[in-house]
Protein backbone atom coordinates (compact mmCIF):
# COMPACT_ATOMS: atom_id res chain seq x y z
CA UNK A 1 0.00 0.00 0.00
CA UNK A 2 1.53 3.25 -1.15
CA UNK A 3 0.13 5.80 1.22
CA UNK A 4 -0.16 4.32 4.65
CA UNK A 5 -1.57 6.38 7.50
CA UNK A 6 1.35 7.62 9.57
CA UNK A 7 1.05 7.32 13.35
CA UNK A 8 3.48 8.66 15.94
CA UNK A 9 3.31 7.92 19.67
CA UNK A 10 5.15 9.10 22.75
CA UNK A 11 5.03 8.91 26.51
CA UNK A 12 5.69 12.17 28.38
CA UNK A 13 5.11 12.13 32.15
CA UNK A 14 3.47 8.71 31.88
CA UNK A 15 4.28 5.16 32.89
CA UNK A 16 4.04 3.50 29.43
CA UNK A 17 0.91 1.74 30.69
CA UNK A 18 -1.10 3.31 27.87
CA UNK A 19 1.42 2.02 25.32
CA UNK A 20 1.20 -1.44 26.88
CA UNK A 21 -2.59 -1.27 26.67
CA UNK A 22 -2.32 -0.23 23.01
CA UNK A 23 -0.23 -3.36 22.39
CA UNK A 24 -3.07 -5.33 24.00
CA UNK A 25 -4.91 -5.06 20.68
CA UNK A 26 -2.82 -8.22 20.14
CA UNK A 27 -3.27 -9.83 16.73
CA UNK A 28 -5.30 -6.86 15.54
CA UNK A 29 -1.92 -5.13 15.28
CA UNK A 30 -1.37 -7.15 12.09
CA UNK A 31 -4.53 -5.66 10.59
CA UNK A 32 -3.46 -2.23 11.75
CA UNK A 33 0.00 -2.30 10.15
CA UNK A 34 -1.64 -3.17 6.82
CA UNK A 35 -2.89 0.42 6.72
CA UNK A 36 -0.72 2.20 9.27
CA UNK A 37 2.97 2.98 9.41
CA UNK A 38 4.60 4.01 12.70
CA UNK A 39 6.74 7.12 12.73
CA UNK A 40 8.34 8.40 15.94
CA UNK A 41 7.39 6.00 18.70
CA UNK A 42 8.93 3.87 21.46
CA UNK A 43 7.84 1.00 19.19
CA UNK A 44 10.17 2.10 16.37
CA UNK A 45 12.93 4.03 18.16
CA UNK A 46 12.63 6.78 15.55
CA UNK A 47 13.78 9.90 17.35
CA UNK A 48 11.93 12.71 15.61
CA UNK A 49 8.56 13.15 13.94
CA UNK A 50 8.13 13.68 10.26
CA UNK A 51 4.70 14.64 8.94
CA UNK A 52 2.12 12.32 10.48
CA UNK A 53 -1.61 11.85 10.35
CA UNK A 54 -2.15 10.84 13.97
CA UNK A 55 -0.09 11.55 17.11
CA UNK A 56 -0.89 9.66 20.31
CA UNK A 57 0.36 11.36 23.49
CA UNK A 58 0.54 9.48 26.77
CA UNK A 59 1.32 11.34 30.01
CA UNK A 60 1.22 14.95 31.14
CA UNK A 61 3.88 17.65 30.87
CA UNK A 62 6.31 17.71 33.79
CA UNK A 63 9.60 19.03 32.32
CA UNK A 64 11.07 21.14 29.54
CA UNK A 65 11.72 18.16 27.28
CA UNK A 66 8.03 17.17 27.50
CA UNK A 67 7.15 20.64 26.21
CA UNK A 68 9.52 20.32 23.24
CA UNK A 69 8.31 16.82 22.34
CA UNK A 70 4.68 17.84 22.64
CA UNK A 71 5.24 20.86 20.39
CA UNK A 72 7.10 18.70 17.87
CA UNK A 73 4.11 16.37 17.77
CA UNK A 74 1.68 19.27 17.39
CA UNK A 75 3.74 20.74 14.57
CA UNK A 76 3.86 17.45 12.70
CA UNK A 77 0.59 15.64 13.42
CA UNK A 78 -2.69 16.48 11.72
CA UNK A 79 -4.62 14.92 14.58
CA UNK A 80 -3.24 14.99 18.11
CA UNK A 81 -4.76 12.72 20.72
CA UNK A 82 -4.50 12.84 24.53
CA UNK A 83 -4.27 9.21 25.62
CA UNK A 84 -5.04 8.27 29.21
CA UNK A 85 -5.69 9.98 32.52
CA UNK A 86 -2.25 11.64 32.88
CA UNK A 87 -2.41 13.34 29.48
CA UNK A 88 -5.96 14.50 30.27
CA UNK A 89 -5.61 15.74 33.87
CA UNK A 90 -1.98 15.21 34.89
CA UNK A 91 -2.86 12.02 36.72
CA UNK A 92 -0.67 10.54 39.41
CA UNK A 93 2.42 12.71 38.63
CA UNK A 94 0.23 15.78 39.27
CA UNK A 95 0.03 14.80 42.94
CA UNK A 96 3.23 16.82 43.27
CA UNK A 97 1.36 19.97 42.25
CA UNK A 98 0.46 20.49 45.91
CA UNK A 99 4.05 20.39 47.04
CA UNK A 100 6.62 23.07 46.15
CA UNK A 101 9.19 21.70 43.69
CA UNK A 102 12.08 22.36 46.07
CA UNK A 103 10.40 20.25 48.75
CA UNK A 104 9.87 17.41 46.25
CA UNK A 105 13.54 17.44 45.26
CA UNK A 106 14.71 17.67 48.86
CA UNK A 107 12.55 14.72 49.85
CA UNK A 108 13.68 12.59 46.90
CA UNK A 109 17.38 13.40 46.80
CA UNK A 110 18.44 14.92 50.13
CA UNK A 111 16.27 14.21 53.17
CA UNK A 112 14.35 11.08 52.20
CA UNK A 113 14.70 7.81 54.05
CA UNK A 114 17.50 5.67 52.64
CA UNK A 115 19.07 8.36 50.45
CA UNK A 116 22.79 7.75 49.95
CA UNK A 117 25.23 10.36 48.66
CA UNK A 118 22.57 13.08 48.87
CA UNK A 119 22.68 15.60 46.00
CA UNK A 120 20.07 17.11 43.72
CA UNK A 121 20.80 15.95 40.14
CA UNK A 122 21.93 18.90 38.04
CA UNK A 123 23.55 17.32 34.97
CA UNK A 124 23.15 19.57 31.93
CA UNK A 125 21.64 16.61 30.02
CA UNK A 126 18.70 16.45 32.40
CA UNK A 127 15.59 18.39 31.38
CA UNK A 128 14.50 20.99 33.91
CA UNK A 129 11.41 20.18 35.90
CA UNK A 130 8.46 22.53 35.53
CA UNK A 131 6.87 24.15 38.57
CA UNK A 132 3.99 21.69 38.25
CA UNK A 133 2.63 18.95 36.03
CA UNK A 134 0.30 20.19 33.29
CA UNK A 135 -2.36 18.33 31.32
CA UNK A 136 -1.39 18.47 27.65
CA UNK A 137 -4.47 20.45 26.58
CA UNK A 138 -3.07 23.39 28.57
CA UNK A 139 0.06 23.41 26.40
CA UNK A 140 -1.10 22.65 22.83
CA UNK A 141 -4.42 22.21 21.04
CA UNK A 142 -5.68 18.64 21.39
CA UNK A 143 -8.14 17.15 18.92
CA UNK A 144 -9.34 14.00 20.71
CA UNK A 145 -9.22 12.50 24.19
CA UNK A 146 -9.14 8.83 25.17
CA UNK A 147 -9.82 8.59 28.92
CA UNK A 148 -8.79 5.65 31.07
CA UNK A 149 -5.95 4.46 33.27
CA UNK A 150 -5.13 3.03 30.86
CA UNK A 151 -7.67 3.25 28.04
CA UNK A 152 -8.47 -0.36 27.13
CA UNK A 153 -7.15 -1.95 23.95
CA UNK A 154 -10.71 -1.77 22.61
CA UNK A 155 -10.65 2.03 23.08
CA UNK A 156 -7.53 2.30 20.91
CA UNK A 157 -9.04 -0.06 18.36
CA UNK A 158 -12.41 1.73 18.20
CA UNK A 159 -10.78 5.14 17.95
CA UNK A 160 -8.21 4.21 15.29
CA UNK A 161 -10.61 2.18 13.15
CA UNK A 162 -13.14 5.04 13.27
CA UNK A 163 -10.49 7.49 12.09
CA UNK A 164 -8.98 5.17 9.48
CA UNK A 165 -12.37 4.31 8.03
CA UNK A 166 -13.31 7.97 7.82
CA UNK A 167 -15.85 8.17 10.66
CA UNK A 168 -15.97 10.80 13.38
CA UNK A 169 -14.45 8.91 16.34
CA UNK A 170 -16.80 8.19 19.22
CA UNK A 171 -16.66 6.03 22.32
CA UNK A 172 -19.80 4.20 23.48
CA UNK A 173 -20.66 4.05 27.20
CA UNK A 174 -18.93 0.68 27.73
CA UNK A 175 -15.60 2.07 26.57
CA UNK A 176 -15.60 5.24 28.68
CA UNK A 177 -13.80 4.71 31.98
CA UNK A 178 -11.65 7.09 33.98
CA UNK A 179 -10.07 4.31 36.03
Amino acid sequence: MANKIRVATTSLAGCFGCHMSFLDIDERMLQLVEVVEFDRSPLTDIEHCTHCDIGLIEGGVCNSENVHVLREFRNNCKILVAVGACAINGGLPAMRNHIPLEECLNEAYLDGIGVENPQIPSDIELPLLLNQVYPIHEVVKIDYFLPGCPPSADVFWKFLTDLIEGREPSLPYELVHYD
Partner: protein, 256 residues
Protein backbone atom coordinates in the same frame (compact mmCIF):
# COMPACT_ATOMS: atom_id res chain seq x y z
CA UNK B 1 -58.78 16.33 34.30
CA UNK B 2 -55.38 16.05 35.94
CA UNK B 3 -52.69 18.65 35.47
CA UNK B 4 -49.82 17.96 33.10
CA UNK B 5 -46.56 19.37 31.83
CA UNK B 6 -44.61 18.27 28.78
CA UNK B 7 -40.93 17.28 28.90
CA UNK B 8 -39.34 17.07 25.46
CA UNK B 9 -42.85 16.72 24.03
CA UNK B 10 -43.89 13.88 26.35
CA UNK B 11 -47.00 14.60 28.44
CA UNK B 12 -46.36 14.07 32.14
CA UNK B 13 -48.94 14.32 34.93
CA UNK B 14 -48.13 15.98 38.24
CA UNK B 15 -49.72 16.83 41.53
CA UNK B 16 -49.69 20.23 43.19
CA UNK B 17 -46.54 20.71 45.23
CA UNK B 18 -44.36 18.58 42.98
CA UNK B 19 -41.30 20.04 41.30
CA UNK B 20 -40.45 19.35 37.68
CA UNK B 21 -37.87 16.83 38.93
CA UNK B 22 -40.49 15.05 41.08
CA UNK B 23 -42.88 14.80 38.14
CA UNK B 24 -40.11 13.63 35.80
CA UNK B 25 -38.86 10.91 38.15
CA UNK B 26 -42.37 9.66 38.78
CA UNK B 27 -42.88 9.40 35.02
CA UNK B 28 -39.61 7.51 34.44
CA UNK B 29 -37.89 10.47 32.84
CA UNK B 30 -34.27 11.00 33.91
CA UNK B 31 -32.94 14.52 34.29
CA UNK B 32 -29.23 14.48 35.27
CA UNK B 33 -28.57 15.64 38.85
CA UNK B 34 -26.02 15.31 41.63
CA UNK B 35 -27.16 17.43 44.58
CA UNK B 36 -30.73 16.10 44.54
CA UNK B 37 -32.23 13.16 46.41
CA UNK B 38 -36.02 12.94 46.54
CA UNK B 39 -36.19 12.51 50.33
CA UNK B 40 -34.43 15.80 51.11
CA UNK B 41 -35.25 19.46 50.67
CA UNK B 42 -33.97 20.42 47.19
CA UNK B 43 -30.71 22.35 47.23
CA UNK B 44 -30.55 23.51 43.61
CA UNK B 45 -26.80 23.98 43.67
CA UNK B 46 -25.24 21.63 41.15
CA UNK B 47 -27.28 23.01 38.23
CA UNK B 48 -26.98 19.76 36.31
CA UNK B 49 -30.77 19.49 36.23
CA UNK B 50 -31.04 22.77 34.37
CA UNK B 51 -34.00 22.55 32.00
CA UNK B 52 -35.70 25.07 29.80
CA UNK B 53 -39.20 25.95 31.04
CA UNK B 54 -41.31 28.02 28.68
CA UNK B 55 -38.12 29.58 27.27
CA UNK B 56 -36.25 30.17 30.52
CA UNK B 57 -33.56 28.00 32.09
CA UNK B 58 -34.12 26.87 35.68
CA UNK B 59 -33.29 24.01 38.02
CA UNK B 60 -35.78 21.15 37.68
CA UNK B 61 -35.24 20.09 41.31
CA UNK B 62 -36.45 23.41 42.73
CA UNK B 63 -38.90 24.66 40.11
CA UNK B 64 -42.55 23.88 40.84
CA UNK B 65 -44.45 22.04 38.12
CA UNK B 66 -47.34 24.13 36.80
CA UNK B 67 -50.10 23.17 34.40
CA UNK B 68 -49.15 23.45 30.77
CA UNK B 69 -45.41 24.02 31.22
CA UNK B 70 -43.35 23.21 28.14
CA UNK B 71 -40.09 21.77 29.45
CA UNK B 72 -37.06 21.00 27.31
CA UNK B 73 -34.36 18.76 28.78
CA UNK B 74 -32.48 16.61 26.27
CA UNK B 75 -31.63 19.37 23.81
CA UNK B 76 -28.13 19.64 22.40
CA UNK B 77 -27.69 23.01 24.08
CA UNK B 78 -28.67 21.76 27.54
CA UNK B 79 -26.63 18.56 27.19
CA UNK B 80 -23.61 20.69 26.24
CA UNK B 81 -24.29 22.97 29.24
CA UNK B 82 -24.43 19.94 31.54
CA UNK B 83 -21.17 18.62 30.13
CA UNK B 84 -19.52 22.01 30.76
CA UNK B 85 -20.89 22.11 34.32
CA UNK B 86 -19.54 18.61 34.97
CA UNK B 87 -16.16 19.57 33.53
CA UNK B 88 -16.10 22.58 35.86
CA UNK B 89 -16.86 20.31 38.83
CA UNK B 90 -13.92 18.12 37.83
CA UNK B 91 -11.36 20.91 37.35
CA UNK B 92 -12.35 22.79 40.53
CA UNK B 93 -11.52 19.83 42.74
CA UNK B 94 -8.92 17.09 42.57
CA UNK B 95 -10.77 14.23 40.94
CA UNK B 96 -8.25 11.51 40.11
CA UNK B 97 -10.43 8.50 39.47
CA UNK B 98 -7.65 5.89 39.12
CA UNK B 99 -6.58 6.50 42.72
CA UNK B 100 -10.06 7.00 44.22
CA UNK B 101 -11.71 4.08 45.96
CA UNK B 102 -15.17 5.39 44.95
CA UNK B 103 -14.42 4.91 41.25
CA UNK B 104 -17.19 2.96 39.53
CA UNK B 105 -19.62 3.80 42.35
CA UNK B 106 -19.22 7.56 41.99
CA UNK B 107 -22.19 9.59 40.80
CA UNK B 108 -20.02 12.48 39.61
CA UNK B 109 -18.08 10.06 37.44
CA UNK B 110 -21.30 8.34 36.35
CA UNK B 111 -22.90 11.60 35.24
CA UNK B 112 -19.72 12.37 33.30
CA UNK B 113 -19.89 8.94 31.67
CA UNK B 114 -23.57 9.48 30.90
CA UNK B 115 -22.73 12.77 29.20
CA UNK B 116 -19.85 11.09 27.31
CA UNK B 117 -17.44 13.59 28.85
CA UNK B 118 -14.01 12.64 27.50
CA UNK B 119 -11.93 15.63 28.59
CA UNK B 120 -11.84 18.47 31.11
CA UNK B 121 -11.83 21.31 28.56
CA UNK B 122 -10.87 23.88 31.20
CA UNK B 123 -7.47 24.42 32.86
CA UNK B 124 -7.22 22.42 36.08
CA UNK B 125 -7.21 24.26 39.40
CA UNK B 126 -5.35 21.65 41.48
CA UNK B 127 -6.67 23.31 44.66
CA UNK B 128 -4.88 22.63 47.94
CA UNK B 129 -7.31 20.69 50.10
CA UNK B 130 -6.75 18.36 53.00
CA UNK B 131 -7.88 14.94 54.14
CA UNK B 132 -9.48 14.39 57.54
CA UNK B 133 -8.64 10.83 58.54
CA UNK B 134 -9.00 11.52 62.28
CA UNK B 135 -12.11 9.38 62.79
CA UNK B 136 -11.67 5.66 63.34
CA UNK B 137 -14.25 4.57 60.76
CA UNK B 138 -15.08 7.51 58.49
CA UNK B 139 -12.85 9.81 56.49
CA UNK B 140 -13.31 13.03 54.55
CA UNK B 141 -11.23 13.71 51.45
CA UNK B 142 -11.94 17.36 50.76
CA UNK B 143 -10.26 17.06 47.36
CA UNK B 144 -13.40 15.37 46.06
CA UNK B 145 -16.14 17.47 47.67
CA UNK B 146 -18.52 19.14 45.20
CA UNK B 147 -20.53 21.02 47.89
CA UNK B 148 -23.82 19.30 47.07
CA UNK B 149 -24.75 19.48 50.78
CA UNK B 150 -26.34 16.03 50.71
CA UNK B 151 -24.37 15.08 53.86
CA UNK B 152 -25.49 18.34 55.49
CA UNK B 153 -29.14 17.59 54.76
CA UNK B 154 -28.93 13.87 55.59
CA UNK B 155 -27.32 14.63 58.93
CA UNK B 156 -30.03 17.14 59.83
CA UNK B 157 -33.09 15.58 58.23
CA UNK B 158 -32.46 11.84 58.68
CA UNK B 159 -29.84 11.35 61.36
CA UNK B 160 -31.23 14.08 63.63
CA UNK B 161 -27.73 15.48 64.05
CA UNK B 162 -25.89 18.47 62.69
CA UNK B 163 -22.47 17.09 61.80
CA UNK B 164 -21.79 18.82 58.49
CA UNK B 165 -22.14 22.32 57.06
CA UNK B 166 -20.88 24.38 54.16
CA UNK B 167 -18.82 27.43 55.00
CA UNK B 168 -17.44 30.28 52.89
CA UNK B 169 -18.62 31.45 49.50
CA UNK B 170 -17.58 31.05 45.89
CA UNK B 171 -14.18 29.49 45.41
CA UNK B 172 -13.62 29.60 49.19
CA UNK B 173 -16.61 27.39 49.89
CA UNK B 174 -15.72 24.30 51.90
CA UNK B 175 -17.22 21.52 53.95
CA UNK B 176 -16.86 21.87 57.72
CA UNK B 177 -17.75 19.58 60.60
CA UNK B 178 -19.37 20.43 63.88
CA UNK B 179 -16.45 20.27 66.31
CA UNK B 180 -14.31 22.95 67.85
CA UNK B 181 -11.18 21.13 66.68
CA UNK B 182 -12.59 20.97 63.14
CA UNK B 183 -11.93 17.24 63.12
CA UNK B 184 -14.43 14.53 62.33
CA UNK B 185 -13.34 12.43 65.33
CA UNK B 186 -14.66 15.10 67.69
CA UNK B 187 -18.16 15.14 66.17
CA UNK B 188 -21.01 12.78 67.01
CA UNK B 189 -20.90 11.21 63.53
CA UNK B 190 -21.52 7.47 63.39
CA UNK B 191 -20.54 5.07 60.63
CA UNK B 192 -24.22 4.08 60.24
CA UNK B 193 -25.40 7.66 59.71
CA UNK B 194 -27.04 8.23 56.35
CA UNK B 195 -24.85 11.31 56.00
CA UNK B 196 -21.81 9.08 55.80
CA UNK B 197 -23.23 6.99 52.95
CA UNK B 198 -24.94 9.61 50.81
CA UNK B 199 -21.89 11.34 49.31
CA UNK B 200 -22.18 11.21 45.50
CA UNK B 201 -18.39 11.39 45.15
CA UNK B 202 -15.49 9.94 47.12
CA UNK B 203 -15.40 12.83 49.60
CA UNK B 204 -16.90 10.93 52.55
CA UNK B 205 -15.80 7.33 52.78
CA UNK B 206 -16.14 4.48 55.22
CA UNK B 207 -12.68 3.19 55.96
CA UNK B 208 -11.65 -0.36 55.07
CA UNK B 209 -14.60 -0.95 52.72
CA UNK B 210 -13.43 0.71 49.51
CA UNK B 211 -12.22 -2.37 47.66
CA UNK B 212 -14.75 -4.95 48.81
CA UNK B 213 -16.21 -4.80 45.31
CA UNK B 214 -13.47 -4.96 42.66
CA UNK B 215 -13.07 -2.20 40.09
CA UNK B 216 -14.88 -3.34 36.96
CA UNK B 217 -17.77 -4.88 38.90
CA UNK B 218 -19.15 -1.66 40.35
CA UNK B 219 -22.50 0.02 39.86
CA UNK B 220 -21.71 2.30 36.94
CA UNK B 221 -19.20 0.00 35.24
CA UNK B 222 -22.05 -1.62 33.38
CA UNK B 223 -25.15 0.47 34.06
CA UNK B 224 -25.83 4.08 33.20
CA UNK B 225 -26.81 6.43 35.99
CA UNK B 226 -30.22 7.14 34.42
CA UNK B 227 -31.18 3.46 34.82
CA UNK B 228 -29.82 3.29 38.38
CA UNK B 229 -31.41 6.58 39.38
CA UNK B 230 -34.86 5.71 38.06
CA UNK B 231 -34.68 2.25 39.64
CA UNK B 232 -33.84 3.88 42.96
CA UNK B 233 -36.79 6.27 42.68
CA UNK B 234 -39.09 3.28 42.36
CA UNK B 235 -40.33 3.88 38.85
CA UNK B 236 -38.31 1.01 37.42
CA UNK B 237 -37.45 -2.48 38.60
CA UNK B 238 -34.68 -2.24 41.14
CA UNK B 239 -31.35 -3.43 39.80
CA UNK B 240 -28.42 -2.39 41.95
CA UNK B 241 -29.17 0.39 44.38
CA UNK B 242 -26.64 3.17 44.72
CA UNK B 243 -24.64 3.07 47.96
CA UNK B 244 -26.68 6.00 49.27
CA UNK B 245 -29.69 3.72 49.53
CA UNK B 246 -27.82 0.77 50.94
CA UNK B 247 -27.26 2.30 54.34
CA UNK B 248 -26.22 -0.23 56.93
CA UNK B 249 -26.24 -3.07 54.42
CA UNK B 250 -23.13 -5.14 54.08
CA UNK B 251 -21.73 -5.19 50.57
CA UNK B 252 -21.41 -8.72 49.25
CA UNK B 253 -17.87 -9.95 49.62
CA UNK B 254 -16.08 -10.53 46.37
CA UNK B 255 -12.80 -12.24 45.66
CA UNK B 256 -11.33 -15.48 46.86
Amino acid sequence: MSKTITIDGKTIPFEDGQTIMDAAMAADVYIPHLCHQPEFTPHGSCKLCTVNVNGRNCSACTFPAMDGQDVLSETKELIDDRKKITQMLFVEGNHFCPSCEKTGNCQLQAVAYHLNMLDNHFPLFYPDRNVDASHAEVMIDHNRCIFCALCVRASQQTDGKNVFALSGRGIHKHLIVNAESGLLKDTDVDVNDQAVHICPTGAILVKRTGYQVPIGERIYDHQQIDQVSLAASGSRPVATLPPSLAVGKEHPKHGK
